[in-house]
């Protein structure tokens, strides 16, 4: 492995460990809230319908797949198709955000407001924190779109870094989906 590749992979790994620790802390808090609650969701609050979270999961999973293709295509230097796949990645990412927005609307319409106690705090707070990271991920994808040119230095390495962050967001969402919505 070239030194520059090693440096990039190492740095990205450490950065992802840092970001993961933030979410691990949130999950730890969630475990405490959930295990100490008498009922979850609290009495008087309905279970959140799985439809929208499931849709979000599909969106982010498909976007991850397109992102994976972007890297493969950059690796064989097919930038035209890589660009197309990148557009689809971004589209699916935006789709995820729209789906999440509808989820928040749905929560609000079912009478669960941000201020409605710990259940609502977790539902809104954690998905917001994740969404902010997704916006960061989308900006990284925009950056990738800008540099997706034949003359860019270390294009593949940049693509891999962005790809890894994007997959990371997908994995975090999947953990949230399973932990907070399914079970």
């Amino acid at each position: 492995m070239k030194r520059s590749e090693l440096q990039n992979n190492l740095a990205m790994t450490i950065a992802l460990i840092s970001a993961a620790m933030l979410f691990v802390t949130l999950f730890m808090g969630y475990a405490v809230y959930r295990s100490s609650a008498e009922a979850w969701p609290p009495v008087g609050m309905a279970h959140v319908s799985l439809t929208l979270p499931f849709l979000s999961t599909i969106f982010i999973a498909v976007s991850s797949w397109f992102c994976f293709q972007v890297k493969n295509l950059v690796a064989i230097n097919d930038l035209k198709r890589a660009n197309r796949n990148l557009n689809l990645t971004m589209l699916m990412g935006v789709g995820f955000m729209i789906s999440q927005s509808f989820l928040w609307l749905q929560l609000k319409e079912s009478g669960i407001y941000v201020t409605s106690g710990i259940f609502a705090s977790v539902m809104y707070g954690f998905t917001w924190i994740h969404a902010v990271h997704v916006i960061g991920g989308l900006l990284a994808l925009v950056y990738l779109k800008i540099v997706l040119r034949p003359k860019t230095n270390e294009l593949l390495q940049k693509t891999i870094n962005v790809e890894r962050f994007w997959h990371f967001l997908g994995i975090v969402w999947f953990a949230m989906f399973m932990g907070m919505f399914v079970f």
Binding site: R3, S4, L6, Q7, N8, L10, A11, M12, I14, A15, I17, S18, A19, M21, L22, F23, V24, T25, L26, M28, G29, V32, Y33, S36, A37, P42, G44, V114, T115, S116, G117, I118, F119, A120, S121, Y124, G125, W128, I129, N153, E154, Q157, K158, N161
Partner: protein, 578 residues
Amino acid sequence: MSGGYNEIHPEPTTFWSKYIISFDHKVIAKQFMWYGIFFLGLGGMMALLIRWTLTYPGQPFPIIGNLLFPHSAGVVPPDSYAMLFTMHGTIMIFYAITPLLIGAFGNYCIPLMIGARDMAFPMLNMLSFWFAFLSGIVLVASLLLPLGAAAGGWTSYPTLSTMIGSPGAGQTLWCVAIFLFGVSSTMGAVNYVTTVITLRAPGMGYFDMPLTIWGLWLTAILNAIFVPVLGAGVILLTMDRVMGTTFFLAGASATSGSGDPVLFQHVFWIFGHPEVYILILPAWGIVSDLLSFFSRKPAFGAKSTALAMTAVTILSTLVYGHHMFTTQMSPLLTQSFMTLTMTISIPSAIFFANWLGTIWKGSIRFDSPMLFSLGVVFVFGLGGLTGLHLGTVSTDIYLHDTYFVVGHFHYTMAASVLLGGYAGLYFWFPKMFGRMMNETLAKIHFWGTMIPLNGIFFGMLMIGYGGMHRRIYNPFVYESLQRLIPINTLVTQSAILMGAFQIVFVINLIWSLYKGKKAPNNPWNVGTLEWTIPSPPVHHNYDVIPVVKCGPHELGNPNLKNGRDFQYQTEELVQGPA
């Protein structure tokens, strides 16, 4: 995230690119140094205001009191007092010690001591400083708010730190500032860890690295893992304050379904305990090297020192519960945390014994960096020993939240780190600025710091043992504390004395910067890589990347024949006749 990968960068030509948004690790180190010194002064002034209030309650603070507190005729009011101890702690830990020890020495020493031309990611390094700068501005700005800055203690426990305890925007800005600082620290950590792993000069194995680098490297690893934990905590706290969530609100304040104030304490200390090692590890590393350099002897058991520091790093992640023995934790848990805490004594004792082994029978040179290093050995010894009382459940329940705790943590992470920082500054100043600092003034500064410092912190241990609680505004109103007034007065007068002697340091620093004697390449006669190049180093550090052939502490080898008592790391180890 493209980087330098150890190539020679073109030298910046404009003022802006050379000094402001510089990518050069040496310039960024100096930026962090001035940043740290500024906040050290600010935090120090706050300490004096706190001490003055505790000893002379109701009396106006001399000279600047009327300027700061015009409405109370120069007397520190109670709410400002809470703000002062909160901001003193926050500033000293995050904005003085972290930038000085990690920002300045980390940036300066890591590339130079491992034989690299810069950090792995110079741009990330630049961003790291400017995030810290932005964070500093937010924090200082919060002092000017109508309701003042945060006042819930540096630990910002809910409910003190929720809207109920702190209605002003100060606490919110505190959270924002800490988050920004966390981003800066994480960026630095990514850079430091990567740099140490990938940019060591050819031939330099991990155990050929100076122990300074070991300390900084381990610190960076802890930073990368645990700073985001606090990040998550302050995000949730900010949401509680701004958006109406109830993560840390319980009981009547949470309308339906209860949050958990104690959870914040867990989150805080999961970060907070590694944080104290984040602060002390660089100082341990620096001291481990300097004791060897100025004893003209190889560091005793250097490998075991490095491994012991690594063991402390790992253990530091498992002991945070000892901060929370009084939070109705299950006795099973308190016992476990106590046992793990006691386990830290073992690696600590190992490197402490190694320090003593290093100076044993050395031909010690009492230059200022050595004096400060020996100071660290003394104060860290005291700080470590008093830690045993607090790590033990039965004694901690009595001593919890008293001045004994304040004395203990100041000995470990204020006194040790401050003295370690001064040691490093006096040691590397010639390399950083190409001039020597005045040795006489440095020695005056050492004794003027060391003696009052013990007056302050040992005094704190005594009044704490006597029962004085932390964070009280006026000890005179409690009958039980009346008898402690003489020691309290000693503490305050020592603090004023110590504060005054820091002026000697500032004068020495500024004077030496412009008028100091020109420094030779290697004023201290030691063999680590940074002393093989000119003082100050050229922009790209090394014209040719050095090849390392021996360890960093090859001093006093009787086989040396060239008139020197040390050899450079670039020289083949001199062997005796077979």
